[in-house]
């Protein structure tokens, strides 16, 4: 009778800060009963780089490169969020051409970011192949950005008053070629490869179900919130730039593979958003006017009047917000960044307590929230 000798008791398990499936330096302490998670506690701050403190010591234009390093997977949106806030404060008009370029680079960046989310989510679940394909295509976008501004991740391309460099005909042709290559053929391929794969569905459907009201209460935004069926997209609900002139749909989760708001829904929202992003890029390509690419005065220096504002844009992970207080000098008095991942990951402890979550499911849940620790900790 060996069975009687086996002791069972709860165990505290430490996951991270260095753990491949936490997508950065993120630590979760879980209390487990065998494979089952009873409780989890998230710890963040390992990557804190005092963005807000640094911003108080640099002038308005010098802050832009710091914003890149918050969410380094979709830096264009962080640049843009910061830029719209400063433009509102200083009353700067952005040239029409710059607005079109901004939509193009931001949507391409969203595709690049979602591709990485798609690839690494496959890795988390145990599918290695999609990752290689995702990086193949992400590389094409990064090549375009490299040609455009010399950077592959931290672009500092969207700046106060416009963009840093003008778009050339050659790059426009590259972008068009990418759109034709990518949509619909490649995204269909991805859906066949991973989205409707039986093993993938059984690992993600009905796992980490996030009810809509709970998600909103926890401040979850972006694809993770839309995965719970909430029709909320700042590009449509509070349009900035030229989004009010462009046509696109807002995909939301439907619970078609399991329950509404499960990991599969959140994943699928990103896959569907990529198609919409390409649609937006195509419209911007068709409509891009000639003209200046940046406000001349703002290109050199920015000195807003005293005042404060809060502006948000729809990033790849949710709402990127900047609260900026100006005291009338060329250095911001206070810059507060609202990072979407910060709020999105805060729901994790609740999700593990809502239902019976296995240790392997925890990995699936973290992956489906698609966090970037660089912006959680700032």
């Amino acid at each position: 009778m060996t069975e009687a000798k086996i002791r069972t008791e709860e165990m505290l398990l430490n996951m991270g800060p260095q753990h491949p499936s936490t997508h950065g330096v993120f630590r979760v302490v879980v209390r487990t009963d065998g494979e089952l998670i009873l409780e989890s506690e998230s710890h963040i701050g390992y990557l804190h780089r005092c963005f807000e403190k640094c911003a108080e010591g640099n002038n308005y234009l010098q802050v832009v490169p710091y914003t890149d390093r918050m969410d380094y997977l979709c830096a264009m949106m962080n640049n843009w969020g910061y830029a719209v806030a400063v433009e509102k404060l200083a009353g700067i008009e952005v040239p029409e051409r710059a607005e079109y370029i901004r939509v193009m680079v931001a949507e391409l960046n969203r595709v690049a970011s979602h591709l990485l989310a798609f690839g690494t989510y496959g890795l988390d679940i145990g599918a290695i192949t999609p990752f290689l394909y995702a990086f193949r295509d992400r590389e094409r976008i990064l090549k375009i950005f490299e040609k455009l501004c010399g950077q592959r991740l931290n672009y500092s391309y969207v700046r106060v008053g416009g963009v840093t460099f003008d778009m050339t005909e050659e790059i426009l042709a590259d972008i068009e070629a990418f759109c034709d290559y990518f949509d619909p053929k490649i995204i269909d391929e991805y859906d066949n490869l991973l989205s409707y794969n039986g093993i993938f569905i059984s690992r993600t459907a009905n796992v980490g179900v996030m009810p809509a009201d709970l998600a909103i209460s926890y401040g979850v935004t972006g694809p993770s919130l839309r995965g719970s069926g909430v029709q909320r997209d700042l590009r449509r609900d509070a349009p900035y730039g030229i989004y009010d002139r462009l046509e696109f749909d807002v995909p939301v989760g439907t619970g078609e593979m399991g329950q509404l708001g499960d990991c599969w829904d959140r994943y699928m929202v990103r896959m569907r958003e990529m198609r919409q992003s390409i649609r937006l890029v195509r419209q911007a390509l068709a409509g891009i006017p000639e003209g200046p690419f940046c406000d001349k005065k703002a290109y050199r220096a920015v000195k807003p009047k005293a005042g404060e504002t809060y502006k948000r844009v729809e990033g790849a992970r949710g709402e990127v917000g900047f609260y900026i207080v100006s005291d009338g000098t060329n250095i911001p008095y206070r810059v507060k960044a609202r990072a979407p991942s910060f709020s999105n990951i805060s729901i994790l402890d609740k999700l593990t307590s809502l239902s019976d979550v296995m240790v392997a499911d925890l990995v699936a849940i973290i992956g489906s929230l698609d966090i970037v620790l660089g912006e959680v900790d700032r």
Binding site: I44, E308, T309, Y310, Y323, K336
Partner: protein, 166 residues
Amino acid sequence: MARLEVGQIIAVLKEKLPDAVVEEVLDGVDPFVVVKAEAWAAVAGLCRDDSRLGFDLLSCITGVDYPEREDGAEIEVIYNLDSIANHHELTVKVKLPRDDPRIASVEEIWRTADWHERETYDLLGVVFEGHHNLVRILCAEDWVGHPLRKDYEPPDSFHGIKNVIY
């Protein structure tokens, strides 16, 4: 429900809680309303539960340090509220004395306030009364001081790691 202008939102606040609103600024870059610190918990509850307001999303909490204000040093805590259903937003400010900044926690009203309040406590030293776990979140647990206070002096070293300034 329908979208309300900021003036209408403030009118609802004043109707339900006549003493709460101290000041309203509608002509700035962004309009905002200042409420009494003691009234903040009631205002927050009203903002979420009144169907005309319906502020279901607490988007951001910002703390700003003003050590040199004419009428005494202050810390402002700024709440950016958003209504997903009604498509309107509101900026609410609360002004606290700098030497003892205390305000009611709203983590029971919006769960996201939990981490945002911890961050504001960590970086500015604002105490959120009633918070179930008000500990540092971004800085190390044994960090000294609140870095976003304007008079903050960074330490020369931390656990033997030197603070090298280039």
